[in-house]
Symmetry: C2
Subunit: 350 residues, 2 copies
Amino acid sequence: MKLDIAVLSGDGIGPEVTAQAIKALEAVAHSFDHTFVFKEALVGAIAIDKTENPLPDETLELCANTDAVLFGAIGDPKYDNNPSAPVRPEQGLLKLRKELGLYANIRPVKAYSTLIDKSPLKPEIIQGTDISIYRELTGGIYFGKKHLNEDGTVASDLCEYSKEEIERITRLAFKAAQKRRKKLTLVDKANVLESSRLWRKVVTEIAKDYDDVALDFLFVDNAAMQMILNPSQFDVILTENMFGDIISDEASVIGGSIGLLASASVGDTCCMFEPIHGSYPQATGKGIANPIAAILSAAMLLEHFDLLGEANAIKDAVEKALELNLTTPDLNATNPLTTEKVGDFIADYI
Amino acid sequence: MKLDIAVLSGDGIGPEVTAQAIKALEAVAHSFDHTFVFKEALVGAIAIDKTENPLPDETLELCANTDAVLFGAIGDPKYDNNPSAPVRPEQGLLKLRKELGLYANIRPVKAYSTLIDKSPLKPEIIQGTDISIYRELTGGIYFGKKHLNEDGTVASDLCEYSKEEIERITRLAFKAAQKRRKKLTLVDKANVLESSRLWRKVVTEIAKDYDDVALDFLFVDNAAMQMILNPSQFDVILTENMFGDIISDEASVIGGSIGLLASASVGDTCCMFEPIHGSYPQATGKGIANPIAAILSAAMLLEHFDLLGEANAIKDAVEKALELNLTTPDLNATNPLTTEKVGDFIADYI
Ligand SMILES: CC(C)[C@H](C(=O)O)[C@@H](O)C(=O)O
Ligand SMILES: CC(C)[C@H](C(=O)O)[C@@H](O)C(=O)O
């Protein structure tokens, strides 16, 4: 198979970890006789520095005309505490999601048995946790109308959802549940929000087409508790953009390392894969960033194109690295490897 | 001192646990020579059943003309999964908050050393946790304009904040930080939301008046992680309504039992005290509900009126009950007491 892959490695540790993901994909291409063509483009703070635009037109065009996007990370502290910065790196990411129509962000959360002791949660709590979170990614309060009155004393954001926006991700989530443990939990705040009530109504209707899947509902505040009290109760979680942001980041600590978590953002025509950790500026250039999340994002890319054997080759190599403790300082305090050496081991093992 | 106290015990386990809080207050009145006059009123599902209104006018009037409100819980499963119910118990609570101007919800979160093993988090993670969460309670997306288009296919909720709404709770939070460890963390999503940027701006300005307090900022998704990874880093957390709902419920599991957590909702003229657990319908009438959260809410009421010795008498009695394991089944599986017996012990000890 030939795949054109756009590489947007972005800011902070993005470039370092993305390089390891590419190495893994090249190893797969070699072993399984595929051709992967990588083309790089700018995004985020580095794109602002060079072009004054967090998402230059060339980048968007490249992404729109490629098979898949491999994304690193964006963000730079110099923008974070400046609420009135005219452009921010995040705008690049949000625009990319919107323009490419990446309406579903999919995040697997798993408790690796080799890492069970690293979790802040007790082993008996997280044992068996295996969740797939479906977060709506191009609607809701992130993209609703924003307003600031003239004297800067009243600000607002609109959270709006249409039936169609809810339907398309809901179908993806139900299909995923059918291939898993056949349970879907909708997280909302239907006791307060009109938009949540629409979610509940639409999801309940669509559930009729997937009657082998058990549907239940959880208010977001309760979900935030249940995620810690009993995470293994969840199979597929479906939720809107903002709740998904919060709940999936909360869930990301279960496994003991955010440096392991990958995500896919998919739409009807495009797809993008990225580690969920951010740009982690303090670690930039030190060779201490964990490349596994980026490498597992590459595995999700392969799965998306039904290259399941290939994806498993990556996952097996990752499991091996974890088993042998050939990992970066976040997981191995006494005898750590560098970002690059971990990438080398995984690529060699493939 | 004479205090008029409105009692809104509400639904589910509300009446059972509120009865124990009243018992504790009566014991305090007796020991310290105060007069507390209790007047009951309807709220929630039971109010809908009896009057078709989750917050009858008499209830609102009583609350507006009293020194303090003691609140139990509201909610009934028969409303939860019915998105189109014309009236819901929650509306009563939201209206009460709004009409009484209870703009600040204050929730202490503490790791009790006697309960450290009950937490889903590891002891070394939660040790020393002592947080006070200030959640804005009468603004934001809970009270913003809601809209559903005619054919029911597009729904929206508006999250709006004014400078004044942010200012008043911010000052309370800074004052609280001054009496504590002098650290305040604003939780927001200023990289995406206009309303969050206004929060950041207003809070940064007000911080100048409290220059002995260290201010920092955390995006809500990161806050949801940090609450599990390292909760003892927090002193006072300040946040808007919806984020506060999620983060404070998440934080509530740290201590090992949601049955212990009290809250105060205060405004310029009124105040209300309630356990943070809900109506817990499955437990209603079985004598298994933990009354301690309700009893500690009564202690917060006393603190609000500067009756600190009196509040401590309640807190000491609670500590004693925990130490002797004279508790309900949630904390004592082998030899539990009933709700009432726990209340009796605490009142006697006072
Ligand atoms: C950077 C930010 C805009 C983004 C989001 O909130 O969506 C990030 O937190 C994420 O979850 O991918
Ligand atoms: C019942 C509900 C409306 C309420 C809220 O979300 O404010 C509750 O969850 C709370 O936190 O007091």
